[in-house]
Amino acid sequence: MTTTTAETGWHFRRPSVIPGFGLTLGFTIAYLTLIILIPLSGVVWRSASLGWADFWTIATDERTLQALKISFGASLIAALVNVAFGVLVAWVLVRYSFPGRRIVDAVVDLPFALPTAVAGIALTAIYSPNGWIGSLLAPLDIKVAFTPLGIVIALIFIGLPFVVRTVQPVMEEIDREVEEAAATLGAHRLQTVSRVILPSLAPAIFTGFALAFARAVGEYGSVIFIAGNIPYVSEIAPLLIVIRLEEFDYAAATAIAAVMLAISFAMLLVINLIQAWSRRRYGYGS
């Protein structure tokens, strides 16, 4: 590879037998620009019109900071919980065959399909102090609905399929022989799982985590029903943006949006770098 580029000079792309590179790349860039880049640069543009000092005031406002903290904190916790239970669900679906497996498999996708507002209302109904589960938790002095805990529950709900669906196909491809090899070498089940299976799932788990996390940060519909939306306590950043919009304070809304954008971008970048590194290590990318 490197030798050919050295010989023939720099090429925009390496020659390929597959036709249509120009067309497909052109379409891809045009499409991404229209759908993603222009709207997002609009956010940056609007908030830039604010001036640095104003922007800083809004961004470091106590209420904004609290909302961002709740948004990203709850998303992080929810994504971590989803990693643990999503891998477990994927394991059950891949490894065991039992009556109703296909139904369970289909149920995993429901959070994808359901309008999140419906999910929010349903969760609120169940977890509110007079709801099904809420009434059981109330004597234990655990309040779910209208607290940050409720936000986490809603985010777990919407994030679960992302982890399951990214880990499941990779888990299906794990060679049974690799586990048998570990067993003949004397590794017990727990050692096989922790030292052989989980590490080889790591890249998929990272991807699932990143997707679940990103989805949770952007979630709005289900959270606003269960969160109670108490400023400084259970108010998420997307809701704060909507509140500012309703006050016709577009500048403040875009400023918060820009901060969210920056943090999300930075976190996804870090996750992707870790992922690229682990992929290279495990020989997927080569």
Binding site: D175, E177, V178, E180, A181, A182, A183, T184, L185, G186, A187, H188, Q191, R195, V196, P199, S200, A202, R281, Y282, G283, Y284, S286
Partner: protein, 371 residues
């Protein structure tokens, strides 16, 4: 370590994959399990390893009943056809895995594990590659890592499941010789599965020929080739041709005419005559011979292989002729086998006729020098 397999039976969903198999393996022996696919050879290997549990029967490692032990406790080295390396671990980590997972009481020190792994990598000629990941190795190198990994735990027996099956022909030949050399230096009791008779005959001390879940014959390469114990072995190992004949008073007859072969130890009645196409003598006149018309003629390496149609039933047999023999179409050729064997036919034919040629396809164009 001596291995005794006693009356082993294994059923998968009521279908017997192994049927009453008994086998004694001497300590330090290199044994090949040879057979067509579905013959139960891999099942037998997996049962010895403990990766499957027998329906009936027992396996002894020395005096110990190994069938009561789990895979982990059996301490066997198993090498898989598709390597089954841990791809998130370096070569060194792969080889040391078996020692690292031992309980702390029996685990060597980190330094000792590292030394042992490096020593094994040296043995399999992979020194200097210990930091590589499996994805960065060729097929032959991966299989050698797998072998080093299996040997690291000082196994009682080394079991190899078609170890060279996924490699190309040239690499396979090289690794075969190299495995023999490794076996001779380390002296592990070794059992390997193959469907490649050349591999089995060249590599093994004794060959176990299997068919349909049973052992057909156990013997050295010379024994199974020169004295096949059953029509199946005759057909499966090396080239062979067969012809239905009748035995009457010690004389072998085709269509009521004697062919000049005497068989005193075979009971009268129908039988199958087996011989190898190269073990024949050509005859001029036919006063007691097998005669047939040439149906097809092929040049195979240094000889000419000719298909003859014999008798009214037009049974096809093969003979090998010198290159300069014309063997023109429709001409008549008379011959008599010099080495042959009769298998009396009980009810029906004892075995499908196996006169198909079994020469290995030549895949030299796929053979890079490195492996």
């Amino acid at each position: 370590m001596e291995v005794q397999v006693k009356n082993l039976r294994k059923e998968f969903d009521r279908f017997p994959a192994l049927d009453d198999v008994s086998l004694g393996i001497r300590s330090g022996e290199l044994i090949a399990l040879l057979g067509p696919s579905g013959s139960g050879k891999t099942t037998l290997l997996r049962l010895i390893a403990g990766l499957e549990t027998p329906t009936e029967g027992a396996i002894f490692f020395g005096d110990e009943d190994a069938s009561r032990k789990t895979v982990q406790e059996r301490n066997v080295g198993f090498v898989f056809q598709h390597y089954a390396l841990f791809r998130h671990m370096t070569v060194l980590e792969n080889v040391s895995f078996g020692l690292k997972v031992r309980p702390s009481a029996t685990r060597p020190s980190r330094q000792a594990i590292r030394e042992r792994a490096l020593e094994l990598l040296d043995l399999v000629q992979l020194s200097g590659l210990e930091k590589r990941y499996p994805a960065q190795l060729s097929g032959g190198q991966r299989q050698r890592v797998a072998l080093a990994r299996a040997m690291a735990i000082e196994p009682k027996v080394l079991l190899l499941d078609e170890p060279f099956g996924a490699l190309d022909a040239q690499v396979r030949r090289d690794l075969r010789r190299w495995l023999r050399a490794i076996h001779d230096t380390t002296g592990h009791t070794t059992v390997f599965v193959t469907h490649d008779q050349e591999e089995a005959l060249e590599l093994a001390d004794r060959v176990v020929v299997m068919n349909k879940g049973r052992i057909e014959q156990i013997g050295t390469a010379d024994e199974v080739y020169d004295a096949p114990g059953s029509p199946f072995v005759y057909g499966f190992i090396g080239e062979s041709s067969s012809l239905p004949v009748t035995v009457e008073g010690g004389q072998v007859l085709i269509a009521d005419r004697p062919i000049g072969l005497t068989a005193t130890d075979v009971p009268d009645g129908k039988a199958l005559l087996y011989y190898r196409p190269h073990d024949i003598e050509l005859l001029d006149g036919c006063g007691g011979c097998i005669a047939g018309t040439v149906a097809a003629s092929r040049r195979v390496a240094g000889t000419r292989r000719v298909e003859l149609e014999v008798g009214g039933a037009r049974e096809r047999v093969e003979v090998e002729l010198p290159i300069d023999h014309p063997a023109a179409q429709k001409s008549r050729i008379a011959f008599r086998p010099t080495r042959w064997k009769l298998f009396p036919m009980g009810e029906g034919r004892p075995e499908e006729k196996m006169s198909v040629s079994r020469s290995q396809p030549l895949q030299r164009e796929l053979a890079p020098a490195e492996f």
